[in-house]
């Protein structure tokens, strides 16, 4: 030993207030959410690329498929009817992409050792994940606003009062929030951001296509009709469509008589809350034992 002299007892401990409960959870989550939002501002590419795809989908689906897809109850070849039908589907698909964002973000934090840093701090256990999903919610909301403006510019219209339209967007955001918890679990499981991005995206394609989002389920084989109408994703699409007034009067809500299609708003809330409860529980448990 060369330099270190006689030890002089413990270093002064700064008072670390033991806090507990909800207050600490909320506060810690907001600190983490703020951190993630700052990151988004500094890497705007992520947000911008997140916008390009849905905008492309709106334009492609509207102009390429618009004339050839027949919305039940509308005159054959009515492109405006399809455009109105389509938007709820595109919005819903867009919010589910939050899965990839949350997954990649958390996998990146694991990879860089930040999760270890957080786990060694006297902070609330769920806050790292909640903070991430809240930040993703903000990003999703921003994306929806831009997308809605684009859709309005190319002719999409709502036909209900503002409160109902906003309620439609609220359900979409709730779905996006629910899906970001699925992403959180994926991110904690796969450990590399690349795997989390693809792992967060691939299963979204069957999920969002075997649904009522892009084409009416009437044309599907009977078996797929059942799958599509019970698909949790379809419930939110149907609910948003209803609240936007993008449905056609006199057309039955469901082809197979599935309950979620008959009561889309309630079903949408139930599905989203269920997803949040299940995946939040699993993700927080995984976080506690995460070993990067």
């Amino acid at each position: 030993m060369t330099t270190v002299t006689e030890a002089t007892g413990g270093a002064p401990v700064r008072t670390v207030r033991p806090r507990g409960g909800i207050g600490r959870s909320v506060r810690d989550s907001l600190v983490v959410a703020q951190r993630n939002l700052i990151r988004m501002l500094r890497i705007p590419e992520v947000v911008i690329f997140g916008l390009i795809q849905p905008i492309m989908f709106v334009v492609l689906f509207t102009y390429v498929f618009g004339g050839s897809i027949n919305v039940p109850g509308a005159p054959v070849g009515d492109a405006q009817a399809y455009h109105e039908f389509l938007m709820a589907g595109i919005f819903a698909q867009t919010v589910t992409f939050a899965t990839a964002g949350a997954g990649a973000g958390i996998a990146d934090d694991m990879h860089k050792g930040l999760i270890d840093r957080f786990r060694s701090l006297p902070m609330s256990r769920g806050a790292v994940l909640t903070g991430r999903t809240l930040a993703d919610l903000v990003q999703t909301a921003l994306t929806l606003v831009v997308l809605a403006v684009v859709a309005l510019l190319i002719g999409w219209r709502t036909h209900e009062n503002l409160a109902e339209v906003l309620a439609g967007f609220a359900l979409l955001l709730l779905l996006g929030y629910a899906f970001s918890w699925i992403g959180a679990l994926i991110g904690l499981t796969v450990r590399t951001p690349e795997a989390a991005t693809s792992g967060g995206l691939i299963w979204l394609f069957p999920l969002t296509f075997i649904s009522n989002a892009f084409v009416p389920v009437n044309g599907m084989p009977a078996f797929l009709q059942h799958v599509a109408e019970w698909n949790p994703f379809s419930a939110t699409v149907a609910a948003a469509r209803l609240l936007f007034g993008n449905t056609i009067a006199g057309v039955p809500r469901s082809v197979t008589g599935a309950w979620p299609m008959e009561h889309p708003v309630v079903a949408s809330v139930i599905w989203s809350v269920l997803i949040i409860v299940v995946f939040r529980t699993l993700a927080v448990r995984k976080y506690r034992s995460a070993t990067a």
Binding site: R42, L114, R119
Partner: protein, 362 residues
């Protein structure tokens, strides 16, 4: 009375790998324990168990008087951790990183900001405080990471290979910071692959291998077992071996070795770089042409060799001659000295941290 860091019979397995195989530790308050071992020895696993990040399969751990397994949240309030790879958010500024950590230690916003300013100054990051850390050098990131571990001046600190991957200058700076810290009375557990580092910073050293503590003692005790520093010479032609051996005997403080096959001679010495210069002059005078010459301090590998009779496995490298100025490469000096590690600046990525620079002394 158990020390500020106390562990008994820690066992942790990952599948077939026994990462910890019955580790006992006892670090008295206000002292520094250097945990020395090659890659894969179980150092990080031990640190992770003691800092509540990993539950051991068996064993007991007490940190700052608190049972780690029973009351992890209380332990977290009393410890600071600087992990093996600098865990700072690369898109936040230095200031934002520290403020965030302060708030997550449950400080008020204002208190956290004030503390961040203090720490940035203390770690010479004041000028870079408002730059995102992606632009920091490896050494700056390390310092910031250390600062983050010190936000609440915890009584017990853990540092996992704090200087791996740093160049000698940054390593020196970090050592100064750590020395200042422990002079203030903090209890520290520090892991390292470099005997020299443990020597500089630790009161006591434990050597780990395959999840077991295979030796304990002070740096001097360990060095005594390994024979201190040596001069190593590789002569150009075999016929010069005899003369070179004569010269080295003159300077040596003990039995040397001669390996005709590699044309390498080794002799224990005291006197460091100054002596090395004299040796070179003398060899030159006697007309001995040399390919390589260097001052070798005992390395982890030497410690291993003397303790176990085999080399430290894998990538345990010859961390020793780091910072030893007394090295001269006569064949143009192009033998790519130093620059251990992950390439200094931009490498935030973290795979294994595997580093080896065996090129120096072959």
């Amino acid at each position: 009375m158990p020390g500020a860091i106390y562990a008994e019979g820690l066992v942790k397995t990952f599948g077939d790998v026994r990462a910890l195989d019955g580790v006992d530790l006892d670090v008295p308050e206000g002292t520094v324990l250097g945990m020395l071992g090659p890659n894969g020895a179980g150092k990080t696993t031990a640190v992770r168990v003691l800092t509540t990040l990993l539950r051991p399969d068996r064993g007991k751990a007490v940190v700052a008087g608190i049972d780690v397994l029973a009351r992890p949240d209380e332990v977290r309030r009393s410890i600071g951790l600087s992990g093996q790879f600098a865990a700072v958010d690369e898109y936040l500024t230095g200031r934002e990183n520290l403020t965030m950590v302060g708030r997550l230690y449950q400080m008020s916003g204002r208190e956290a900001k004030r503390r961040a300013v203090e720490l940035l100054e203390r770690f010479h990051l004041g000028d870079a405080a408002d730059r995102i850390t992606k632009t920091y050098s490896g050494g700056m990131r390390r310092r910031l990471d250390l600062a983050a571990a010190l936000v609440v001046s915890p009584p017990v600190m853990f540092m996992d290979e704090p200087t791996t991957g740093l160049d000698p200058r940054n390593r020196q700076e970090l050592w100064d910071v750590i020395q200042e810290l422990v002079a203030g009375g903090t209890t520290l557990l520090l892991t390292t692959q470099y005997l020299e580092e443990a020597d500089r910073l630790a009161h006591d050293i434990c050597v780990v291998d395959h999840g077991r503590v295979i030796a304990r003692g002070t740096a001097d005790q360990l060095k005594a077992r390994t024979g201190g520093e040596r001069v190593e010479v590789v002569v150009h032609a075999p016929e010069h071996l005899t003369v070179a051996d004569e010269v080295l005997r003159g300077f040596g403080k003990g039995e040397g070795t001669v390996d005709p096959h590699t044309r390498k001679l080794t002799v224990p010495v005291t006197g460091g770089a100054k002596l090395l210069a004299e040796v070179i002059r003398e060899l030159d005078l006697r007309g001995v042409e040399i390919d390589d010459i260097g001052l070798r301090r005992p390395t982890l590998d030497d410690v291993f060799l003397s303790l176990t009779g085999h080399h430290a496995e894998g990538d345990a490298d010859d961390g020793a001659d780091d910072g030893s100025a007394g090295r001269a490469d006569t064949d143009g000096g192009a033998v790519g000295r130093q620059k251990r590690g992950r390439g200094g600046a931009g490498t935030a990525g973290a795979d294994t941290g595997t580093t080896s620079d065996r090129e120096g002394v072959k």
